[in-house]
């Protein structure tokens, strides 16, 4: 096994409990068979979370698995395995790492590949995907995986939201988008019923959706505490504390986690404890999945007095009240409205800034609310879905804020060969100097 980089220290005690969550999710997939449960290879933010939780289907999160391999700096063997069957290194490395793992397991007759992190992940009984406006691997990865798991059925849903167009009123389109999403989710339930042989308990699903809504609210309230100066938690921790809401939404454990985090952040604020001492610069992590093998870079920023009180990445939730969701008795329609409005509720704000976009409107809102001094993006070479358009977002921000300091870091999510620590730290150093110069200019 590759040498494991020393684990990044976390600023909050609550975040230190995250590995237990991740291990728990992995081990649940390994226990599922003896518990008589089905395992679904699934994706985050696909609208399937509550359906799976309500039907006792155990999610096997490929992104999480590959992220763990990356964090342990031990993904290369699986990336190479996938490459050996002509999966290009330029493809999504979350996918190729996981596919390589499954290829290795199938070749070994089902035995867990040596060095699979934290005991590995259970073999799925079904594969759920979703064609979205987010990411092609969400429907190509399932197909590619099935090439090696030929007995495992695949179902792909489609959940869209009205595309941003400054000249088209999206409000008129929302209803038919929601109708489509709802129908697609009903199709997903039918598929899950067929594979599990169990009928959906609709009351249970409604309760799970309610719990998710509560968790969304609590999550946003908790993260808003980071507006405090000094901030009690930054993005380095948030890349951990996103786990419950991202991978365990719809469970009591996820909700309880944010209760604990909320309490801890309030205590830190009361005591004036910040991530950096002194806190000199406040930054927004404006887009991009992190390099899971280089989370220590957040501490490098912190060591220079720079903190990230806010990030766009994995903050895929909003106060439910703000989304103004129409009433419905169908929990799947509720999920659909929540999904569509989550994306469209920035559209009106974007229209007020000529040349802006919803993504930029969101960055601007956070930038102002969290009193930031600069912007950092991360561009991961193997992922187009979250990393295409970053240059454009930076340009629009420059139009709004003129000479605002912006750093675009480059790397990957899983493939460490894309990363050079010395170069990265040099760029961070130069950026810190820019922040200082910008601050001095603002004063004069």
């Amino acid at each position: 096994m590759a040498e494991e980089k020393k684990r990044r220290a976390v600023a909050t005690k609550t975040a230190a409990g995250i590995p237990k969550f991740v291990r728990g999710n992995l081990s649940a997939t390994l226990r599922a068979k003896e518990e008589g449960k089905k395992v679904a290879k699934a994706f985050i933010h696909d609208g399937h979370d509550e359906i799976m939780r309500a039907m006792d289907i155990v999610p096997a999160w490929g992104e999480s698995f590959s992220g763990v391999c990356a964090a342990k700096r031990d993904a290369e063997k699986f990336l190479q395995k996938a490459e050996s069957d002509n999966f290009s290194r330029s493809l999504c490395t979350y996918a190729t790492c996981h596919i390589g793992f499954e290829m290795a397991r199938e070749e070994q007759g089902g035995a867990m590949p040596e060095g699979a992190p934290w005991g590995g992940m259970g073999r799925p009984d079904m594969i759920l995907g979703n064609g979205q406006l987010l990411c092609d691997p969400r429907f190509k990865w399932p197909q590619a995986l099935q090439h090696y798991l030929r007995d495992v059925p695949v179902f792909v849903t489609n959940m869209y939201y009205p595309p941003w167009d400054p000249n088209v009123d999206h409000h008129e389109q929302e209803k038919f988008y929601v109708k489509y999403c709802t129908e697609e989710l009903h199709e997903t339930v039918k598929f899950c019923e067929k594979v599990t042989g169990k009928k959906m308990d609709w009351d249970r699903l409604a309760a799970v959706v309610d719990l998710s809504d509560k968790t969304w609210d609590l999550f946003v309230d908790t993260y808003d505490l980071r507006k405090a100066i000094p901030t009690p938690m930054d993005t380095g921790d948030a890349m951990n504390t996103m786990v419950p809401i991202t991978f365990n939404i719809g469970t009591q454990e996820a909700y309880d986690f944010y209760v604990e985090l909320n309490n801890e952040l309030k205590e830190k604020i009361a005591q004036g404890i910040g991530v950096a001492d002194p806190e000199k610069y406040r930054l927004i992590w404006a887009a991009g999945l992190p390099s899971w093998f280089a989370l220590n870079d957040f501490q490098y920023f912190n060591g220079k007095g720079a903190v990230f009180p806010v990030e766009v990445t994995y903050r895929d939730h909003e106060k439910i009240e703000r989304l103004d969701l129409p009433k419905t008795n169908d929990p799947l329609e509720r999920i659909a409205w929540r999904w569509v409005r989550y994306w469209t509720h920035w559209y009106d704000a974007a229209r007020k800034i000529p040349g802006s976009t919803p993504k930029v409107a969101r960055i601007i809102e956070y930038f102002e609310d969290y009193k930031c001094d600069g912007v950092v993006f991360h561009s991961a070479f193997s992922c187009r879905s979250w990393h295409a358009g970053i240059i454009h977002q930076a340009e629009v921000l420059r139009k709004v804020y003129k000479d605002i300091p912006i750093l675009i870091m480059e790397g990957d999510i899983v493939d460490i060969s894309s990363y050079n620590e010395a170069d990265t730290h040099n760029r961070i150093d130069a950026f810190i100097e820019t922040l200082e110069a910008y601050r001095n200019k603002q004063k004069n």
């Binding site: 197909q143 070479f381 295409a388």
Partner: protein
């Protein structure tokens, strides 16, 4: 009508290929609105019915991406970057608007990059679904109505069902004519080379449908009349990929001593084989063609009770083409950073090979500067299957 309309088919195709957009420029001068579009997923029938001149954007393999670099990340599909670069450099300066259909992340996630940097009077992102069930057909019809509504607003005219039905007929006829031309490649040696065919395919996508049909007809007549090539003792190759629109690729194959006899490209067989059914509601037929009949990897095909049946549903048409065109070997030419095609490589490669046809998989940039290694691989492949 200008002089460019009077020459012979192959000569005209060559000129339209070399001076891409020449006819659109002329039509613009004549007062026609020119709407550019990307990908096989744009329902050209709607544009034709609207009375505009559609032109599919192409890239320029022999030009480095320069200006576009300032706006679009290098992790985007190199073809998309090349087309965008050409657009921001003004190569398509005649366009009044553009339609960007939701094909893949490289298109979808750069919609705002395109629209804000080109700043055209008309812009539309068409949110084509990735799946094809009943709800998706209904959804597709909804987004087609939105699309039609934005075009009507821009043009100030109504796009009637009758006009759409007529456009469907015209495009179906266009597809039938192109298939007739393809049939001439079934002979050994093929009556039209892969290089010539590439020029015709590219020229055809730059023209209004009636002119495109006239061009294809004249090429077919010309090719039928001329003597057949003498060299029949060459391997017959099929190329598979998305938008390969430069003769450098067929040249690399044919200069290595093979015939390129058929393709499964998004400017070729993929678009010319499936027709739109003439349904009472014309949008029904259009929705079904673009979702269920077009065989492109960004449309998820889930049919089949077993994996093997699913492969037949996804790739069965490739085996048909291989048999019909007596293909000796297939080249899978995939652009770097392409998740939709890239994730299919092991499946499609092993599927074709299971039928006894060898496959060469190539991943490359969209650039002639990298073609030397491609040529070497092709030569080695041809030697292997000789």
């Amino acid at each position: 009508m200008t002089g460019s309309q009077n020459s012979k088919g192959l000569e005209k195709a060559d000129r339209y290929y070399k001076q891409y957009g020449e006819r659109a420029k002329e039509l613009k001068k004549e007062g026609r609105k020119i709407i550019g579009y990307m990908s096989a997923l744009t329902p050209v029938e709607i544009l034709t019915a609207a009375g505009v001149a559609p032109i599919r954007l192409k890239g320029f393999m022999d030009e480095a991406v320069t200006k576009g670099d300032a706006y679009m990340e290098s992790i985007i599909c190199p073809f998309v970057r090349s087309a965008f670069d050409a657009a921001v450099k003004g190569r398509f300066g005649f366009m009044d608007g553009m339609v960007l259909p939701h094909q893949c992340d490289s298109i979808d996630r750069t919609n705002e990059v395109w629209s804000s940097n080109l700043n055209l009077p008309y812009w539309h992102f068409l949110n084509v679904p990735h799946v094809t069930g009943g709800p998706s057909i209904e959804f597709m019809k909804e987004i087609l109505r939105v699309f039609i509504g934005t075009l009507e607003k821009f043009l100030g005219t109504k796009i009637t069902d009758t006009a759409i039905a007529q456009a469907i007929k015209a495009h179906n006829e266009n597809r039938r004519l192109m298939r007739e031309l393809y049939i001439l490649r079934k002979q050994n040696p093929p009556l039209i080379s892969g290089v010539e065919m590439m020029k015709v395919l590219v020229a055809a996508m730059s023209l209004p449908v009636d002119e495109s049909s006239a061009l294809i007809k004249s090429v077919t007549e010309e090719v039928k009349k001329r003597p057949a090539p003498a060299d029949g003792n060459r391997k017959r190759i099929m190329i598979i990929g998305d938008q390969i629109d430069h003769i450098a690729i067929p040249e690399a194959i044919e200069n290595a001593g093979a015939w390129l006899v058929v393709d499964d490209l998004s400017i070729g067989v993929k678009v010319y084989w499936p027709e739109v059914d003439e349904t009472t509601d014309p949008l029904q037929g259009i929705a079904e063609r673009y979702l269920r009949k077009l065989k492109i990897p960004t449309t998820f095909v889930g049919e089949g009770d077993t994996y093997e049946e699913n492969l037949e549903a996804r790739f069965g048409h490739l085996k048909q083409r291989i048999a019909e065109f007596k293909v000796d070997g297939a080249i899978l030419f995939i652009y770097k950073y392409c998740d939709p095609y890239g994730f299919e490589v092991p499946a499609v490669k092993s599927y074709i090979e299971s039928g006894g046809t060898p496959v060469l998989y190539l991943e490359d940039e969209y650039s002639t500067s990298t073609l030397a290694r491609v040529k070497t691989r092709i030569e080695a492949f041809l030697e292997m299957i000789a």
